[in-house]
């Protein structure tokens, strides 16, 4: 038996559950259910609520623990510092393992409900954050939810949070190519302005990670999601004695080779840096640190800014 039939028309397409290839597929009943085909009413609500959010950037990786949240944090901190006249937001879409409240140093804060919806938590004057972490009573509380409930939460985050005017909303995602990812793309894709939603991919250099990341890149391609580029994280470790070690060796050429092979832009590499991991755990502002990691970060951020069209206001 195959995971999906050879001529699978694709879940969510016109012929899902109806084509001849669907006969005998264990998921035929699911695909042919007419109720799943209706245009989600949430999409209009999301569009209305996010009309003043100019651009959205998804931080993706098929693999977990590669630094999606760290890169999201670094990028948001850097952008909000560099462009004090612009407004930035971060939405933590990782429902089961939210990390942003800790990384951005706003753990334990509360979300307030106002007339126009939930107010996100302010990290800086021009940077705000929404995460399910703010809605949990304790750090030990687990969100034991199947897909549909997670999707409902994501929809609420997009349609019932008072995001206000944002130049860029960064969305930190969980690993995989499943419910969260499909829902986000479904709600945020705007066919009239396809470039308002882009993806940034994060990976580590070893093949075990690249294997999952290639899947994620193919997910983006299938969903027609423009890929801004790939950041390689944890690429090498420099000991205090000066010796550099590859902790996650790039036996297959690392992110650069993968980018060439899959025809996506390679943005650069961030080294493994105990100073950064520590600052992340403590929620400190990393833009205050001056070392090789933050230098690498600056050059990656500049490349990203170049493609995001954040206009200078001066």
């Amino acid at each position: 038996m195959e995971a999906e039939p050879e001529n699978c028309p694709g879940v969510g397409t016109e012929n899902a559950g109806k084509s001849s290839a669907c006969a005998g597929c264990p998921n035929q009943a699911l695909c042919s259910d007419p109720n799943t085909k209706l245009e989600d009413p949430g999409k209009a609500l999301v569009a209305e609520s996010m009309r003043e959010v100019k651009q959205k950037l998804l931080i993706l990786s098929g693999k977990g623990g590669v630094g999606k949240s760290t890169v999201t944090t670094l990028l948001s901190r850097y952008l909000s510092r560099k462009y004090p006249e612009h407004n930035f937001g971060v939405l933590d879409v990782d429902i089961c393992g939210p990390s942003q409240p800790r990384l951005l140093g706003v753990e334990g804060e509360n979300v307030h409900q106002s007339g126009s919806g939930w107010s996100p938590v302010g990290v800086d004057d021009n940077l705000c954050l929404m995460s399910i972490g703010f809605l949990l009573g304790s750090q030990d509380d687990a969100i034991i939810w199947r897909g549909p409930k997670k999707n409902g939460m994501i929809r609420q985050f997009l349609s019932e949070v008072d995001w206000g005017k944002l130049d860029l909303l960064l969305l930190d995602t969980p690993p995989g190519t499943s419910d969260e990812h499909l829902s986000i793309v479904l709600y945020l894709r705007n066919n009239e302005a396809p470039d308002s939603l882009k993806a940034l991919i994060v990976t580590t250099p070893q093949e075990a990670s690249l294997l999952d990341v290639r899947k994620e890149i193919n997910f983006c391609k299938k969903q027609n999601l423009p890929i801004l580029g790939v950041v390689e994280n944890m690429s090498a470790f420099r000991c205090s004695c000066g010796e550099t070690s590859e902790i996650f060796p790039a036996k297959t050429g690392g992110a650069a080779a993968m980018c060439a092979e899959m025809n996506v832009p390679y943005l650069g590499a961030l080294p493994l840096d105990p100073e950064v991991t520590k600052a992340c755990d403590l929620g400190e502002d990393l833009t205050n640190i001056k070392n090789s990691t933050t230098d690498a970060l600056v050059s990656i951020c500049q490349k990203i800014i170049g493609t995001l069209e954040i206009e200078e206001v001066y």
């Binding site: 690993p175 999952d212 060796p249």
Partner: protein, 265 residues
């Protein structure tokens, strides 16, 4: 379901990239070294790593009257492996499935695979506390499951998620066999100085606070990478390494589990 399997062990972690699959494969291989028949089931459907880690990516699963036949890694058939990776035509193909489809696939892996007689079945999971985990826990009600091994790295941001996974185990009634702390400290090959890249002792402290056993602490050891893509155990390849000693000890603690000899220091 799994009638001929004596013990089932889940490898969990709320966090991704902490080494669940590495611990799953090396634990399975360590148990095999002690003469046991072992099965390894990978239920990470969107990011299966087990076929790559064991060098089995070219293998194809075929069907017999009793269901899917798992991949056996040797003539002696002491290690049986099943993963969605074996069902994909191209290793870069994404599996873009929502929850219900993932649930059906996992049920099939547990009910329609001809697992035969196994001493241990190790189940490697994706990060999180969602569809895959709820499904496997539901299935474990009908099967005697020894419990779960929690893998973590020492830094706070990983521990946050592992604490959630511990709550998940408590709520679903699965026993936590213990916590393995991975990627704890890196010894520079030149100056032998140990740097705690991802902090240290986080797993030990969490075990203490949660009142569950600490099964061992694994260092960052780039030598382990030579084992990637093979079915060789760290026990036979790098017998003097700390990693080998710790895997040996974890395997012993697991197999002695029935006689309740895991210490809770």
């Amino acid at each position: 379901m799994l009638e001929k399997v004596k013990h089932v062990i889940l490898i969990l972690s709320g966090k991704g990239g902490v080494g669940k699959s590495t611990v799953s494969t090396q634990l399975a291989l360590a148990l095999r070294e002690s003469g046991l028949k072992v099965g390894l089931l990978d239920i990470d459907l969107c990011g299966p790593s087990v076929p790559f880690l064991l060098g089995l990516e070219q293998s194809d699963v075929y069907q017999c009257d009793e269901g899917w036949v798992p991949i056996y890694t040797g003539e002696d058939k002491t290690l049986a492996v099943m993963s969605i990776g074996f069902l994909l035509k191209n290793r870069n193909d994404p599996v873009i499935w929502r929850g219900p489809k993932k649930t059906m696939m996992i049920r099939q892996f547990l009910t329609d695979v001809k697992w035969d007689e196994l001493d241990y079945l190790i189940i490697d999971t994706p990060p999180g506390t969602s569809d895959e985990h709820i499904t496997v826990m539901e299935c474990m009600r009908d099967v005697k499951c020894d419990g779960a091994i929690m893998v973590t790295t020492p830094q706070g941001v990983a521990l946050d998620d592992v604490r959630k996974e511990l709550t998940f185990c408590r709520k679903t009634g699965v026993k936590v066999l213990g916590i393995v702390e991975n990627m704890s400290g890196f010894v520079c090959p030149k100056c032998s100085n140990c740097t705690n890249i991802f902090s240290s002792d986080g797993g030990v402290e969490l075990a203490k606070r949660a009142g569950v056993p600490h099964l061992g602490t694994l260092p960052i050891d780039p030598r382990i990478n030579v084992l990637v893509g093979t079915t060789r155990s760290v026990l036979t390849e790098l017998p003097d390494s700390n990693t080998a000693k710790i895997f040996k000890s974890i395997a012993e603690q697991i197999t002695n589990h029935n006689s309740e000899s895991i210490s809770t220091d």
